[in-house]
Subunit: 311 residues, 2 copies
């Protein structure tokens, strides 16, 4: 089955490489050889790799193969965005249960490719193995760093905590359907001074705390400012759920929004920039004092647990 | 467990990045962020990705974790060698059975790292997921193309078929312990005109036939010239085995030797080059006539089946 899949891929790829060449031509050799070859220009390159596995990141009973393929690319695009990098090329790695048909594998690939196309990301290679275990889809992405790239360790006390989008309840669908913040990241990395960044895969609280901790500082979040998603409210309103919508926003995983550490004067310019088509919210500040603090509406403060989706 | 593993990796990495910086500094940011950053210089880059999975590529009852980690890097190094590329950076992706301890995961990593170090390959990132399935170790490697890179489609009728090492019986140990041909590949890609190449993962017959077919030509192999390994002879001599040692050499998989398509005048220089510390054997020629032909010692010829390890 792997050979048939590879044959199918190579037929498609021939067209894709021509398409890529017409667009600027950084892919010199694509799918079907021992490796793929690309050119990078003069900017540093960023590599990210993340796999998604049956039972942990998706459920074959509830999620379409197309959405699963899409997610394998999306989580990696989100990592590139969190570095301020622009996507270039990807490899895909499939562990396929023996019961799967060729058409099912194609479906996963097409879901991946569809999202890749949206971000001018070329899928240039990969490998496929049938085995007795469950489905695993892994991807490795290479992107181009822009004028700067963003480290988790770069946040400074006094920086604003700026987040994209809203948070919580991703389990209701967002975890498969989210749009990675790649375009925003490319723009910001070129035009603004961002001190540090990460994406929210495990939870706003946990990833923010990691960013602060890697930077040797703490973070103070004004709880009323945290953008709470509609899905978080829906989940919270369910019977027998004693978690507030804010709890969901703070502690659910897989929002795949960005957390940015932004110097206050830069934030000011950023919020006035009409060319940015994405919700940006200042939810607090990075602080000298270590730890993660939530400020409530009555002005009192409490420790926020750095909890979320711990593997 | 993933977090503890990551913590352990990051402590090690700090030393490694300093080491890399001292050597020329292409890794700008390593393990622990959303991605790793590296510089490529001005040459095209080659990316290869291959995973190995429990039951297919290794057997937890018979193979050490260290050897499994080593193999995950080795098969990818072999792919870079088959492109004529020099290794730069790698990411590793682990799907870990829940029963595994942190020490066991470290052991896999150390096996991978040990081989990576031998080839100046920096492991710059990756991901780790515990799950209910079996062990999968995936890697994506980026290498630097030298003066030229080698396509599978580049062989020309009249080229010599030159192979490294010997073939067959890799199941007796070579499939885990092989030394990828990276140094030879870098040297040849810089100093010689090689028209096409691949590595032997599925079998000499199958991979040679793929190389010929991708190049629009055929191949004629002088069977007496095929370097048959000691392991192939040992296997063939076993009771109830009716395959000859040559059969093992032609059809066993995972030799991880290189097949090179070399213009005859280049072969001549190559075989006289005393700086090459690797066995090179001319086993035949690429031909206008399609298909894979074996020439026997009495001068007659027969079709060789393009069979081997088909996934």
């Amino acid at each position: 089955m792997e050979q048939e899949f590879l044959d199918w891929l190579q037929t498609r790829q021939r067209v894709d490489v021509e398409h890529a060449a017409a667009r600027g031509g950084y892919v010199l050799l694509g799918i079907g050889d021992d490796g793929a070859v690309f050119e990078s220009g003069k900017k540093p390159l960023v590599i990210a790799c993340d796999s998604i596995a049956q039972g942990t990141h998706f459920d074959l009973n509830h999620h379409s193969l197309c959405d699963i393929g899409r997610k394998a690319i999306a989580v990696n695009l989100s990592d590139l965005a969190a570095m301020g990098a622009t996507p270039l090329v990807a490899t895909l790695s499939f562990q396929i249960p023996r019961s799967f048909s060729l058409d099912e594998v194609k479906e996963i690939f097409l879901g991946a490719e569809d999202l890749a196309n949206q971000f001018d990301l070329e899928i240039v290679g990969g490998d496929t193995n049938s085995w007795d275990g469950g489905l695993v889809v892994g991807a490795a992405l290479v992107g181009r760093a822009e004028s700067s790239f963003w480290k988790m360790s770069g946040a400074q006390a006094g920086d604003d905590i700026v987040v994209t989008g809203d948070f919580g309840g991703s389990i209701l669908g967002h975890h498969l359907k989210f749009q990675p913040c790649c375009e925003l990241a490319t723009k910001l990395a070129n035009d603004y001074k961002i001190n540090g960044a990460t994406d929210v895969s495990d939870s706003l609280a946990l990833d923010l705390s990691r960013l602060a901790s890697a930077s040797g500082c703490g973070a103070e979040v004004v709880l009323a400012k945290v953008p709470v998603s509609e899905a978080a409210r829906v989940l919270s309103a369910r019977e027998n759920n004693n978690r507030t919508a804010l709890d969901h926003a703070l502690y659910d995983g897989e929002d795949f929004q960005l957390i940015l550490a932004v110097p206050p004067d830069v934030t000011e310019r950023l919020l006035k920039d009409n060319t940015i088509n994405q919700d940006l919210t200042v939810i607090g500040k990075f602080t000298e004092r270590l730890g993660l603090i939530g400020v409530t509406s009555d002005g009192s403060s409490k420790q926020i647990d750095a909890k979320g989706y711990w593997h």
